[in-house]
């Protein structure tokens, strides 16, 4: 049976269309979820896409975290539902305390938009299991508030538990501590990533096809997961 992957649209989401497209190219069925939905329509995994939910008012992701659909996602993530937060989605996951730390204004204050090399370090997660440890991938990064910060204890814990999923290579685009580009929760089902794998799934529009691996990973994870 084809896996059904939910893609949430908040007011101000920008990359929900591309995320749904990436899901389809990976071989799954994208299911569009609305921020006001009080249920998840039986999806097998969820992508929180990039953009500027609620105009980035207050803090990026702060208001989206209280959307009705997020209450369901937070509950389901606790039960093992795979959740990938990309860019604004990563910010929402941190605001929802599904991931530790926070994303703040880029240290240099500029919006940064470029193709970025990442090193995948954690390949045991639901979203990275098709990569090799240490594999370098090329994926677009585009953010104004992508500087990952957390206290030293949290950073040490992430490193010790192998929860740094990806790091920036060849230049840190936003000042993120320890070059962190992506992290995961303890269970490995929730991943937040600042760059955009959904923009690197087709030769016509992306710098590589490396982003596809995140979406094929979750399909592999779902096949292997107990029903």
């Amino acid at each position: 049976m084809t896996a059904r992957i939910g893609v949430v649209t908040f007011p101000g989401s920008l990359d929900d269309g591309d995320a749904a497209r990436a899901v389809r190219i990976a071989g799954a069925e994208p299911v569009r979820l609305w921020h006001g939905d009080a249920e998840l329509h039986g999806v097998d995994a969820v992508v929180l896409p990039g953009g500027f939910s609620y105009g980035d008012y207050l803090r990026c992701g702060a208001i989206a975290r209280f959307a009705p659909v997020m209450e369901k996602i937070i509950d389901a993530a606790g039960g093992g539902l795979p959740v990938l937060g990309i860019c604004n989605g990563f910010q929402i996951l941190c605001e929802a305390h599904l991931l530790p730390g926070a994303l703040t204004r880029n240290q240099h204050l500029h919006f940064r938009n470029r193709d970025q090399i990442l090193r995948i370090e954690a390949t045991g997660t639901a979203w990275t299991n098709t990569f090799q440890p240490g594999q370098e991938v090329l994926i677009p990064v585009k953010n104004g508030e992508g500087c990952y910060v957390a206290d030293a204890n949290t950073l040490d814990e992430l490193e010790a538990e192998g929860r740094v999923v990806a790091r920036y290579v060849g230049g840190n685009p936003n000042g993120s501590q320890r070059d962190i580009a992506a992290i995961t929760n303890q269970a490995g089902n929730v991943v937040g990533i600042m760059p955009h794998p959904e923009h690197a799934v087709e030769a016509l529009t992306g710098p590589s096809l490396d982003g596809l691996g995140f979406f094929t990973s979750v399909l592999k994870h779902l096949v292997g997961a107990p029903a």
């Binding site: 702060a62 926070a102 204050l109 910060v149």
Partner: protein, 87 residues
């Protein structure tokens, strides 16, 4: 009716690039004796009835501030008090 004011500031250990950018612009105004500038946010809350400081603290902790990177204070002011009254 008194108004609740919540002040949210980045924690001291969190870099404030906005504040730094402002500080770096001050010499262009001829100001050369400022050591640092940090930027926060002032939020004014008017309750429908008596102001509830405990409720305001809950709002601040859950939504207005992100405790990972920000500290906040909650206080009461007279509703007609202009922002500069404390200076």
């Amino acid at each position: 009716m008194p108004r609740v004011v919540v002040d949210v500031m980045l924690k001291p250990e969190i870099l404030d690039p906005q504040g730094q950018a402002v500080a770096n612009a001050l010499p262009r105004l001829g100001v050369n004796d400022v050591a640092s500038v940090r930027i926060g946010r002032r939020i004014e809350i008017d309750f429908t009835g008596e102001p509830d400081l405990d409720r305001a603290r809950e709002i601040a902790d859950k939504l207005l501030a992100n405790p990972v990177i920000e500290d906040f204070t909650v206080r009461l002011v007279e509703a007609d008090e202009p922002a500069e009254a404390r200076s």
